[in-house]
Structures are given as structure tokens and as C-alpha cells.
Amino acid sequence: MDEAVRLDCRGMKCPRPIIELAKAARRNAPGTVLEVLADDLAFESDVRAWCETTRATLEALTSQNGIWTARVRLPG
């Protein structure tokens, strides 16, 4: 498994986690895997939508004790 860039968005509310994700996507090279942690209830739906629209790949999305972990591979 590729080394992932971690992004801690715990405690952030919509739209902050998605903004942070978009910023990280701009900072990192295409194909990078981002591991995003978030506890916003909207995150599950939003991260799926973000990946679909930006053509990123959502490799995994899991939840434990109310905290979501998303593995997102940037397009390209």
C-alpha cells in the first residue's frame, strides 16, 4: 500500500473538511494517496461526492467510534 499523506479534519464542520481536502489535493502530486480523518456527520456523503466530481478514487471509507477515515487517491 502506498504511503499516505495524513489529513486530520477532526472537529471541523462542513464545509471545512472538504476545503482542507481540496487544498491538500492542490499541494500534493497527482496519484498521491490522502488519508483523511473527520468526525463531521456530513463527511461520509461529502467525501464521496468530492471524489466523484474531481475524479479522485475513494479507495476506502471506514468509520470507528464516530470518526471517519477516508483513503483518497488523487487523479492523474
Binding site: 464542520k13 462542513c14 464545509p15 473538511p17 472538504i18 463531521d40 456527520l41 456530513a42 463527511f43 456523503s45 461529502d46 467525501v47 464521496r48 461526492a49 468530492w50 466523484e52 466530481t53
Partner: protein, 198 residues
């Protein structure tokens, strides 16, 4: 007479050219069709006013009747319309004083919403209800229920709900509500025929 100038050869050339043009047009139209957004309508129910809610739900009905996929995004004051009618206090995680205050002051469900004008401390609302009954016009609770029955999808802005002290326990039919954020809305809105802010 040269071969190319013979009438049957010229006709062949024209037919070949026509077939090429036809094939080109077919590819072009396929490509254009692929770019057309799906038959989808997104409505942003921002206002918690009864009249605006009525308008949004009526439009949703029209869109569903015309075979469109309909998405209703309830955000900010609009969130109140998704509350269950009735009881003020219900089970759920504890809230801060401010959240409890918001929770208490906001309308409870679609029928608790106010007219944006001529409300007259509820008198206008009663008047409107009487008129609607007289003329057989459905009220917003019926419209909302039917929109959902007809397959209209209801989304709730998670952050608004949090700010207004509206928890999952306060919602009517919470299992059918997608609690989402702006990215979900945007991804659908970008691929819609129509987006309205109500």
C-alpha cells in the same frame, strides 16, 4: 469522356460522401448527448417561511410529474420543515443552552412555519389554511409527504441542523433523510438541468 466525369461514378462519389457526413453527424450527436446533464432538478429550501416552502414543494411536484429526478436540500431556516410535529422536548444528546433556545423557538415541522407576509401573529396562517381547504389545495405537510413518496430525495445540511439545535431525534422520518454537506449538493447541482434557491 474520362472515368470520373461519367454520371454513375459521380453518383457513387456523392453517396460515399453522404455516408461519411451521416456517420460524422451521428458521432457528434452522441458526443453532445453525453454532455447533456441528466434529467435532474435541485431545489434549495433555505427559507423557513410557509409560502416559500409551499412554492418549492409545488415545483418539486411538477418536476416529479415530468419525470425528473428531484433533490431537495434543506438548509438553514429551511431545516425546521423537516422536524417532527408536536412535542418540544424529546430524547437525544444533550445540547447547550443556546441550542436549546433555538430548538424551542423554531417551527416544528412544515405546519409550524410562518407566512413571510401577512402572518398577523398566526391569523394570516389560519386564514390561508381556511382558503386552502375551501379550494382543495393541499397544505405543505401533505405536499412534503407526497414528494417523498414519489421519490423526491431529501437532503439536510448537517451544519445548519447543528447550529439550530436540531438533532436526528427531532426529525420526521430521519431514515429517509441524507445528512450531507455542501460537496454533496454541489456534485448534484453541477449535473442538473435546473437548480433553484427558494
Amino acid at each position: 469522356m474520362s472515368a470520373a466525369s461519367r454520371p454513375e461514378n459521380a453518383l457513387d462519389a456523392i453517396e460515399r460522401r453522404l455516408a461519411e457526413v451521416e456517420a460524422g453527424l451521428r458521432t457528434l450527436s452522441e458526443r453532445l448527448e453525453a454532455r447533456l446533464p441528466p434529467e435532474r432538478v435541485c431545489l434549495i429550501c433555505f427559507s423557513g417561511d410557509w409560502d416559500r416552502l409551499f412554492a418549492a414543494l409545488t415545483i418539486a411536484h411538477g418536476a416529479l410529474a415530468l419525470g425528473q429526478e428531484v433533490h431537495l436540500f434543506f438548509t438553514f431556516w429551511g431545516v425546521s420543515a423537516l422536524r417532527a410535529e408536536g412535542d418540544d422536548e424529546c430524547e437525544g444528546p444533550p445540547q447547550s443552552l443556546l441550542q436549546r433556545l433555538m430548538h424551542r423557538m423554531l417551527p416544528k415541522g412544515p405546519l409550524g412555519t410562518r407566512l413571510s407576509r401577512m402572518h398577523f401573529w398566526g391569523l394570516g396562517r389560519t386564514m390561508m389554511q381556511r382558503l386552502m381547504r375551501q379550494h382543495g389545495v393541499d397544505d405543505v405537510d401533505v405536499l412534503l409527504r407526497e414528494v417523498r413518496e414519489l421519490g423526491g430525495k431529501v437532503h439536510l445540511c448537517e451544519t445548519s441542523a447543528l447550529l439550530l439545535g436540531i438533532r436526528k431525534e427531532d426529525l420526521a422520518q430521519p431514515e429517509d433523510i441524507d445528512r450531507c454537506g455542501v460537496a454533496t449538493f454541489m456534485s448534484l447541482a453541477l449535473r442538473s438541468r435546473l437548480v433553484l434557491f427558494v
